[in-house]
Symmetry: C2
Subunit: 154 residues, 2 copies
């Protein structure tokens, strides 16, 4: 029960795009660097985000990637589901006939609740706030630079 | 981000054991049947539940499996973690050095919250209540038997 690496990378990419100045576009190379996403993953991630209409790929000399709509309207749930499909914590939460024990199984109700609270947290986390938070943290709590003598004697 | 089939089966097995009369023991065959767990999975599931000290395997003519402690003290979280290990919704929630972006990444906080609420729901779902709920539902809402003429003409 763990997020795929691709979905984790997609969240990084989307927060990076949300943190750019309005109207700016990011090249594939700059996204790979700032979101720290291995290049072999980035192509597939960008393809899925484009297909889900969360980002737009612009061509030409001023080309690159940008969000397809305001960051305040895109949640972490949107991003995760664009990569993994609809969240489904257990097989039994699928279509009506996914599990023949549903009519009596008390665990089914617990999974429903667990999925609802998980989705609720991800759904309320919007990209504009996430980008602003990350920017703020970088400003106020950047790790102290290591002094030369510490390197020399460590 | 989905529960493994083994963990789903483990939950079924544990609710079945929790629903038995006090002091009763279930054979492997009866567990497979009542929890509807394929026999090729059951051995591994029972092994992991035993290793986690959630169930006890009794030998001899009155042998079989039973819960190792009162059902009211065992949660769905205990059962899931006995199979899958500690819940870790994203890689970044692992050990301190699991992700170098943790000091500024705002998504990390969201994953922490999501994991806490998910674990909270599973932790509050105790086996005694789950077994009683399932028993009650079977009593009051068993599917109506299909009449012979419905079969003949369907």
């Amino acid at each position: 029960m763990q997020l795929t690496r691709a979905a984790d990378y997609a969240v990084r990419v989307m927060i990076t795009l949300a943190g750019m100045p309005s109207g700016a576009r990011a090249s594939r190379e700059s996204l790979a660097e700032s979101a720290e996403v291995p290049s072999q993953f980035l192509g597939k991630v960008l393809q899925l985000l484009t297909r889900s209409q969360l980002i737009v790929s612009h061509r030409g000399s001023r080309g690159g990637f940008s969000l397809a709509r305001p960051a305040s309207t895109i949640s972490m749930l949107d991003v995760v589901e664009s990569i993994e499909g609809p969240i489904q914590l257990n097989v039994c939460l699928g279509q009506e006939d996914a599990c023949g024990r549903r009519w009596f199984c008390s665990a089914h109700e617990v999974w429903l609740t667990a999925q609802a609270v998980l989705s609720g947290v991800l759904s309320s986390a919007k990209l504009d706030r996430l980008a602003a938070d990350s920017h703020h943290r970088r400003q106020v709590s950047a790790p102290a630079p290591v002094r030369v003598e510490e390197i020399a004697w460590s």
